[in-house]
Structure formats: structure tokens, C-alpha cells
Symmetry: C2
Amino acid sequence: MRELLSIVNLTKAFSQFPSIGEKTAERMAYALLEMDQEQVQFLMSSIIDVKENIRHCPNCGALIDTSTCPYCNEERDHSTCIVVPYPKDIMIFEKMDNYHGTYHSLNGELSSIKGITINDLRINELKERIKKEGIKELILATNPTVEGETTALYIAKLFENDDVTITRLAHGIPIGSNIEYSDKLTLLKAIENRTKIK
Amino acid sequence: MRELLSIVNLTKAFSQFPSIGEKTAERMAYALLEMDQEQVQFLMSSIIDVKENIRHCPNCGALIDTSTCPYCNEERDHSTCIVVPYPKDIMIFEKMDNYHGTYHSLNGELSSIKGITINDLRINELKERIKKEGIKELILATNPTVEGETTALYIAKLFENDDVTITRLAHGIPIGSNIEYSDKLTLLKAIENRTKIK
């Protein structure tokens, strides 16, 4: 059988994305072929835009498209800091519209399966921020999974002797699922009922 | 909430693809952000390649990346022609590796819901090819759905008085599903047991 190399390559390129299987990737490649020039141009320029305009805040790790980070400025309450696994999780909390503290992205969760160790997480940066910014409370918002719980317990242990309160999101979030699928009310409840683990 | 415009746009761009919902599109946008330059470059160049190198054969409608069509050349048996709904369906039959006839893509199936009428299909081109190429048998390989059956019946009716045998793929393909999900053996069986409808 004659294979179209360009289609094979594009299928491979789309398969690089998480949750896109080979069959879906192939459908996408054929769909692109039928798109008009304008649609393809929009896709290409959006890809370039994302890579050029978005960067990580060196302090909190959030994804930003501005020169200064909107979550680290002086208008935010630096006494409370929500610790999230990934930068995109910050957006989920911002959608609540009633939290005015800061954030800290760990850029991962401890996982023996994925080989993510403590050195891969932004823990030292967090340690420094607690002193520098005078953080009084860390709200741990890691996922309610084995990896998330392990990470939370590790952080609680690490700051055992420091003058900082450590809380965990309440079990309002369904166990086993991911933060990004939680709705606004569930997240509000989870923050209200946060439990002290240290 | 502050939205990242570049991410919003890229999510919109990915949502243009069939079967990609908004949630999946957003995950893809964030995943792209974390890809290294090499991966993004591969994606971009694959998109450009597909749009630049692949075109439709003006005769059979197949997708080709060569100057002459490999399915319309003199080595193929021009007495038998498989009529498929879409160009990509040709690839599925080529995977069987034992059909040496030609193909004709209709570029669609009759559908009152999608507003696809007889004028949107490549029927006139098929009419001309029957005379010009001396096609003796048309094997209708439209999908076993309402749209596919309607299209098959319409074509059978249209060539009622012409000197061409019209057959339909046997019911080996599960009703309600799509040709592209059929395996090699099912397709072989379906061609072997094709039924005469005219």
C-alpha cells in the first residue's frame, strides 16, 4: 500500500498530544487537509503566539503573557498561598473570583511511576518565598490521588518546624478525579472546609 | 479572571477539528506550551507539508503526493471501479493489498440533514469515466447508513439503462458503523460477497 508520508508525519505530530490516540490523530490530519487556508493560518499563528507570548513567572511559576506577574503583585494578599501541581491549575482557582492570595506551582507531583522526585518539584523556591514574602498559610491543592496526597504529606513534614500553617483542600473534590474537572462551587466548598494537617 | 488570549485562541483553533471538544482542545493548548522547540517545529512543518504536497487526483478524487495518480495509471484494471464516499476511504481498500481495480471518490454522501445534494457529489465525473475508461462494474462502497444507502440507490437508478454492472459491498460491515473502522478480513468478505442490485 502507498502511504502518504505527509499524512503519516502529521498523524505522528498530533499523536504527541496527551489523550490523542492514533485514530484521532489520523482523523485530524485528514480534516486539516480539507480546511481552508484561513483556518490553517489561524492554527499556525495561534501555535506561534502561544510559544512566543506565554512564559512562566519565575516566582510563582504561573503562565503569564505580561511583563510582571498578576498573581505576585502588591495587590495580592501574600500571607496566604495556594500550592498547585501545575501552572494551569492556577486558572481554575482564579475562575472562583474570590481568592486574593498568591499561588505557587510545584510543576508536578511526586510519582515513583513517572520517576518524579523531590528535586523535580519547585520546593526550594517555595521555602524561600515563605521567608521572603512572609507567607502565614500554605493551602495545599495537590490532587486527591496517591501522588497528590504523597506530595502534600511530604510538604507538611518538610515545614514541620517552620512558623507557617499548612492546610489541605477539604474533601469536597471527588476522590480519584482531577482538579481541573471540578466546578466553581465544589472548589469554594473545598477552600472553606480546608482541614489543618499541621 | 485573567484569560491568556494566546491559549484561548489556540484552544479555538484545535476545536476546529472534528471530534475535538473544548476540554480536549484546552488540554492540547497547554500541552503544546510544555513541548520543546523540536516537537513544535515538527508539528508546524508537518502541517505545511500536508497543505503543500497533497492534492486531489482530478480523475478519481484520491489524495496523492505524486504528479500522476497511482490508482488511475495503466497498471490498474480499469474495468472495475470502487465508488467510495471520501478520498481517505481509498486508503482503507488499498490496505487489503489484493484489489487492482480503480476508485472513484464521490466526496460525500447524500444527506438532507447536512444539505448535501446530488450536485455536491462527483457524479458527472463518474458518468464520464464509465464511457471513457470502459468501466464494466461499479462496486458501491458507500457507508451502511441511511445516507450511504440512499446514495447507493440513487447511483443504481441513475445508471439503470447504461451497460454497467452495479454491485454493493456485502453486509459484512456492521450496520451503523463507518467503513474506516472495518478490519482487513471484514472488507475482503464484503468484496467477495458483493450483491448485485441492478
